[in-house]
Each structure stands twice: as structure tokens, then as C-alpha cells.
Amino acid sequence: MRSIDPGNDYESWRRAARELLVAGVAPGEVLFEREQGLFGGAGGLREEPAPYRAGDAAKVPAAFVKLARAASCHREEGRWALLYRILWRIVKGGERDLCEISSDLDVAKALLLGKNVRREIHKMHAFVRFRLVATDGESGRETYAAWFEPEHRIVEAAAPFFRKRFANMNWSIFTPLGCAHWNGEQLAFSEGLAASPLNGGDSMEDFWKTYYRSIFNPARLKVKMMRTEMPAKYWKNLPEAELIGPLIQESRRRVETMHGEDLRPAKAAPRNRYLASLGEMSAAAACSGPSGNQSLAEMAGAAANCRACPLWKSATGTVFGEGPGDARVMVVGEQPGDQEDIAGRPFVGPAGKLLDEAFAQAGLDRSAMYLTNAVKHFKWTPRDTPRGKVRLHQSPAAGEIEACRPWLLGELHRVAPEVLILLGATAARSLLGREVKVVSGRGLIDAPKLAARVILTVHPSYLLRLPAGEVRQAAFAAFVDDLRLASA
């Protein structure tokens, strides 16, 4: 049986473990013990170690290094033997994927140690309380210090967080298991201290306690939850902890007082222009269609409150048409999609982008046209995809197209375009009043009641569904040709 001093940290243990591996010492044949003597703590074999050669380096998976680094900060004595056993099994036992088996007895133990260590690091980030100890008269640079009592050797692992967050102040964190210091340039570590070198509190502690007292809601006491997340072992270094007892004790009385209060009647609204405007907005009557004398803008305002079919409920808002009221060309699509619903404007999503491209190729100026949809609210159904929860477009039903037609007709009558472009079957159905086969019936169609020139073509979203490549290119070209009929 050999005895070896693993030192205090991962690096010293690693040196020792490497030498043991080279010497072929099995886990059962070695005791990891700290030296008690004068020269203890350096790590290394008690006997003269075999000289280390570069080729001896054992290859271990990164997962092991991560596991070992974390577990080695734990103060549990058996950690070194445990880690060596895992290392041995990986290197000599051929269990290369051992760290993947988190339910293995050894791995589970090491994982648990590592988890405790990570938790302790997290709690140190949370519960260190700095006090202002000095302010440089000239530069104004402040120096802060804190006393913290961690359970494990985590100061070095926890310190970089403070350096990043508090780079522009000087600070020291003193603990029994090592201290960390930052002076603006260098992060330094020193031996632990038996007791806090700090005395006196900090001028902000009273404000902090005031905050703690005020943010507590006595009506929802959950003491167990608090104790789980902020175990009592940390309390002695938390200025606010002295309030915990009194706050719990008073809470019942405070809640009883609330319940005993007289109920306060509602006060009338003050005279305030803004409140009045809110009232007007909310009072705007729900409606089911346009009325004859509305202008295009008034109609858009009224449509915002349309309730003529159920589609308004799950959409964000009405997406009304947009463009000059005297446009020569009016374009009618199907309904707004996810993007249009969010933006509140028609044709801004992927299909809209494609349409813009087609307009450009057909020599049409979007800003000179009036663009709208046959149905003004986005109809969707939930779908969970790898990218997250989305709203999947659904085609409007006949009843919904019907319900929304008055708005579309209202727009058509007011814009009274010379050219009307119907994109897809829904637009055609709404304005022609019958099922139309778009692919076979596309091109100029005869509908003089609607406009002098009526063009039927596909909806750009149809093009998006085609496989990219030649097929889509050809379809896109045909689409542009249809659009060109508008300027002929």
C-alpha cells in the first residue's frame, strides 16, 4: 500500500495521479493522505517519484477533466481516491465513456460532489456582501471588502465572476479557505484567514434592510422555500438575515390587519385628458362591417373593432389595407400572416418580400398601389416546431371570407382602381363570389363590375411552397408575367 499527498487542489492531485498511473498503481493500492508534517502540502510521492516523461500523459475525455475539476474543490476527504478510481477505470479499464454513465456508482458520487461545489460557487456569487472600506481622494476609486465562509475550496473558481462584474473598483474577499484580491489589474490569491479582518458595517446596510423588509409580502409566507434557497448557514454574514425572524413573527398579525380593514369604495376618475381618451378608445363600439359614408381612413378605424367573425379573438389586430386611396392598381391577397399580424401591415412577411421582388421585376411601384387582403385577421393554429412554438397559417373558411367581404368591397368602392389584381383563390372567391381554379384560370379575366382590368394570379405564398430551383423560378417568372398585365 502506498501513501501519497494529493495536495489541496486539482493541479496537485493531477500531478500525483499522473505519477501513480505511470507507475501502474491500482486504486486499491494507494492511500491519498495529506501530509501532516512541516513540509506538507506540496503534493507528490513520499518516495522519490519516477521521473515524468512527456509520452506518459494519459489521454482522458474532456468530460472527466470537467468532473474532476469541480469535485476536487469539495472538502470531502474521499474525493481524491474517488477521482483516481474513475481515472483508472477510464485509462486502464477501457471504460472510455464512463463519464457519460451518470448513474455509475463512482460517477454519480463525483457528479454530486461537483454539483455541491457549483452550487456553493453560485451561492458565493449571490451572498458575498461588500462593504466600502476606502475611497481614493484623488481618483475617486473605491475599495470594497467582504468576509465569506464557504464550505468548499471555491474562492479561485468563484473569483473571475467578481473581476468581470466589478472590474472598476478594488476589492478583496476574505474567507477561511483562501482570499481573493483585485486591484484593477491583477487577480491575486492569498491564504485563508481564521476570522474576518473587517469590522463595522456599511452605510448602505440600513437601506438594504429597509428594502428587504419592504419587499417581503407577509401574505404569502413560504419559509421552507426560503431556507432551501438561502440555507441558514449563510445567514451570519448576511446583514438582512436578522430581519427574518421578526418578519415571520409579525406576518400573521399584518395579514389579519389587512383582512380587518374597511373596504375602500372606488373613487371617481380625475379629470384627465388621457384617461378620457382611453375611455373613448375602449367605448368604440364593436362593429360588423363598414357603413356607407365612411372614408377609407374612417373605415380602417372602424374595422379595428370588427367582431363579425371569431377570427379577431386570437389575432393581434385588424390588418387593414394600405396605400393611396386613389391608387390605379389594387392588390388583394388572402389574409395577414404571423409577421403581418405583428406589424399591423399587409405583405411584410416572407410572401410580402417575394411579392416586392415580383413587383420590382414587373416594373410596379408598391407605394403607388393599394394593398389589402380578403380577410383582415390572421387565422392560425398552434404548432410546435424545433424552433419553438409557432402559429401556423390556416386558410380562412367560407364563412370568414363572407363575413369580411363588406370591408373588402368597401375598400374596392372607395379606391375604385383601374386594375385589380387578385392573388390566389381566397381573393378570387371573395370578389368573384365563386370557386375559381387559379392555375387554369389565371391571367386577365372578365369582371367589369369590379374593375376595368382584373388580373387573376397565384398567391406568392404558393411560390414559397414550391421546391426551390427551376420549378420555383419558372413559376415566379409566370407570376411576374401576370403582374405585368397591370401596366399593359
Binding site: 470594497y144 409580502n217 404569502r220 434557497e229
Partner: protein, 407 residues
């Protein structure tokens, strides 16, 4: 009024808002700057109050004066609570002083509505602007916004904040009409939509290389549970819509809490804490476990079982899907096994490529055996049909009646 007194009033006024996590910000720290602060990752709870809530941010109202009259709120105009107003400079100083002592992750700032929405937003923005521009503060900032504020102001707020939010408060317009008469569902949705639009634009710009762009990365919202007659299905349906439509990072459920200054319109009651907890669990199932709202709740049974967690309740209703073989079942099926969390499911997937799973493995993964056993098959375990098919299953899990929290 001295600052301590203001702090007392304006922290008290802010404490009913639960939507104050400090997670999900873009990574940033103070090494390249003049000031303090870092963000990124999960955010830290720097303390816990005896109400079990995490104290992560300095959560304040700029003022608790308010012209609105939300009956669940202590700050409503009908309340006789003492009023106070912070100056922006006072909030800035408190934030920095607390931050440098490592008390907080940053600031969560909201305000009662004073004069009008834009004026109020401007005040809130002034604080954030001073922190960011004058003090180069790189900690977390969460700003509450008002749906009726102008879109430009909301966008300005998003420039300074890591998270912005609008509280929906109640899941239906009918409830809003009765309990928060100035608030409006449709306007709130429109504003949330606009925020999503801006957040997406900003993240696209960042992706396209605009590294300097500082912009909020997410929005969240809160609903109050137990103040109106809405069912759990009403809440979950609304949440599902909000997650899908506006890409909410989180919907917070806050049990309606007794307040001093109770309203005649909304008498006090004990806060439904268990219901709040179940809603969070159900919400979690929707977001991380692939459950649809309709699987968790139905029009016939629109409220969650208070006795059983919603996944277990679902499993008991769907016994035909069990037992599940841990060695072979796909991930989405494993996720539906009561007692298995996301992390353990992923561990099981890795382990089973290398070895056959036994109950001992589950013990070492610290899976609650009593809970999973009826639902799983392992190399050394097969649940008895009798157990799975009998009504005893429910009896096995229904808790003995007990006090929730003793003190």
C-alpha cells in the same frame, strides 16, 4: 421625504409584481468600461425573503401615485396609501450603491401612471438612460412599459433595458373591465406585438454583425391568479397564445394577494398559492415537455388538480400509454413519464447507449422511484398490471391532507 422613507413606500408598492427574474440578458461585463456590472446567463438571486421569493433586482416604483384604478393594486387611485415619488437621481444612486455591494443584479423599474402614458414612460426611461450613459452601468435593467405609450418611447426603453414587459394582469377583457377598467386586452396585444417585432429586428441586426447594438433580448408578462373567475384553462390558453404570438420569455402567475387598502370591488381572500404553483408546473409542461394545453386541461375539466402535479394527473388519465421502456422509448415519450425531468431524460438517453438501465441507476440519478415505478419498464423491473390499471394509482399519489406552510 427622506430617501429611506421613499424606499420603504416604493419597494412596498412594487412587491406584488412577480415578473422580475434577471435571466436571459446578452453577455456583457465591465472590463472594457468605466462602470460596474455584468449580465448573461441565468441571473442570480442575491437573497430570499420569507415569502420564498428570490430577491434579484432592486424592484421599485418610480412613484406609487396612479390615475388608474386597478382593484387588486394597492397603488390604485382609490387607495389611501401614502404616496411618494423618487427623483431619477435617487433611483440611480440606490441602484449603483446596492449593486457595488453585490446586493442585486440590477434594477426593475415600474411606475404608477402619472399624467399620461408617455409622460410616465419618459420618467422611467430617464433613470435607465442615466444609468447606462452617465454611469456606464452594465448590470441588468428591466423596465415595465405601458401599452398606450408611443411606440418610439417603448423602443427607447428597449435600447436601455435587457428585458421589457407589459403586464396583462387578467386573461380576459371582461375581467379587465371589472377589475382594471383602464386596461385593454387588444391594445396590450398590439403593444406586445410591436415589442416582438422590435426584438426580432434587433436580434437580426446583431446576427448580421451589429455588435455594438444594445437592445433588450426579451419580453415577459404577469397575470394575477384568483382575482377573477377565470379558469386555469383560460390562463393556460392565454399563455399559450402569448408564447406563440409574442414570443414571451415567460408568463408569470401571481396569486392574488391580500393588500392593505382592500377594494370594495374585490374583497380580500387568502392567496391561492397552490394553484399558482400548479399553473407554473403546467406552463413548464407546455414549454419544455411538449404538452399541448388541451392535453393538460379540457373544456370539461378546466381546472388543474390541486392534489396532483399536472404531469402525474395527465399520466393517470392516460394509463394506456404506460408502462414505457426506459431502454427504448423516444425522448418525447420519456419526457411524459411522471418523475422524469428534462435533465434526467437526457442523462438516460446517454446512459442507455452504453448500458442497460436498472432501478439502481435511477436511484443514483435521484429519480423519485415511488413516483416513476408504476410507469416504467427497466431491465429488472416491470410494473404489475394490477397497479397500473387500478384506481389505487391515484390513491398512491394523492397527498394526505396537510397544512401547506406551518409557522
Amino acid at each position: 421625504m427622506e430617501i429611506g422613507a421613499k424606499l420603504e413606500i416604493l419597494a412596498d408598492a412594487a412587491k406584488y409584481d412577480a415578473s422580475c427574474a434577471s435571466s436571459g440578458a446578452a453577455k456583457s461585463d465591465s472590463r472594457s468600461g468605466r462602470g460596474v456590472g455584468s449580465t448573461g446567463g441565468a441571473g442570480i438571486c442575491h437573497s430570499y425573503a420569507p415569502d420564498g421569493r428570490c430577491i434579484s433586482l432592486l424592484k421599485l416604483l418610480l412613484t406609487n401615485s396612479c390615475i388608474y384604478d386597478c382593484h387588486y393594486c394597492i397603488n390604485r387611485r382609490s387607495s389611501n396609501v401614502r404616496r411618494a415619488v423618487f427623483t431619477p437621481a435617487e433611483v440611480v444612486k440606490l441602484t449603483l450603491d446596492f449593486y457595488k455591494r453585490n446586493y442585486i443584479e440590477g434594477l426593475f423599474l415600474s411606475s404608477g401612471i402619472i399624467r399620461n402614458a408617455d409622460h410616465t414612460m419618459e420618467q422611467v426611461i430617464a433613470v435607465a438612460r442615466t444609468l447606462r450613459e452617465e454611469h456606464d452601468f452594465r448590470g441588468y435593467i428591466h423596465l415595465k412599459t405601458i401599452p398606450e405609450a408611443s411606440p418610439e418611447l417603448i423602443e427607447t426603453a428597449a435600447r436601455y433595458a435587457d428585458r421589457i414587459s407589459i403586464n396583462l394582469e387578467l386573461p380576459t377583457q371582461e375581467s379587465l373591465d371589472r377589475l382594471a377598467p383602464e386596461k385593454n386586452m387588444a391594445r396590450t396585444k398590439v403593444a406586445m406585438g410591436r415589442i416582438r417585432h422590435r426584438l426580432e429586428e434587433a436580434s437580426e441586426r446583431k446576427r448580421d454583425g451589429d455588435k455594438k447594438l444594445r437592445h433588450a433580448t426579451g419580453q415577459s408578462t404577469q397575470v394575477i391568479v384568483g382575482a377573477d373567475a377565470s379558469t386555469d384553462a383560460d390562463f393556460l390558453d392565454r399563455s399559450d397564445e402569448l408564447y406563440r404570438s409574442y414570443k414571451m420569455r415567460r408568463v408569470y402567475y401571481s396569486a392574488f394577494s391580500p393588500i392593505p387598502e382592500p377594494s370594495a370591488v374585490l374583497p380580500l381572500q387568502a392567496p391561492p398559492l397552490l394553484r399558482e404553483h400548479r399553473l407554473y408546473q403546467a406552463d413548464w409542461l407546455m414549454r419544455y415537455y411538449g404538452f399541448q394545453t388541451r392535453e393538460i386541461l379540457t373544456p370539461e375539466a378546466p381546472n388543474l388538480d390541486l392534489e396532483l402535479d399536472p404531469k402525474l394527473a395527465w399520466a393517470l388519465r392516460n394509463r394506456q400509454n404506460f408502462p414505457v421502456d426506459l431502454q427504448t422509448a423516444p425522448r418525447e415519450v420519456l419526457l411524459r413519464v411522471p418523475g422524469l425531468g428534462v435533465r434526467n431524460v437526457d442523462r438516460i438517453l446517454r446512459i442507455r447507449r452504453l448500458t442497460r438501465l436498472r432501478l439502481g441507476d435511477l436511484v443514483r440519478l435521484r429519480v423519485p422511484l415511488k413516483k416513476v415505478q408504476p410507469f416504467i419498464v427497466t431491465a429488472d423491473h416491470h410494473p404489475s398490471r394490477y397497479l397500473l390499471d387500478s384506481d389505487r394509482l391515484r390513491a398512491r399519489f394523492a397527498p394526505k391532507p396537510r397544512q401547506l406552510e406551518l409557522f
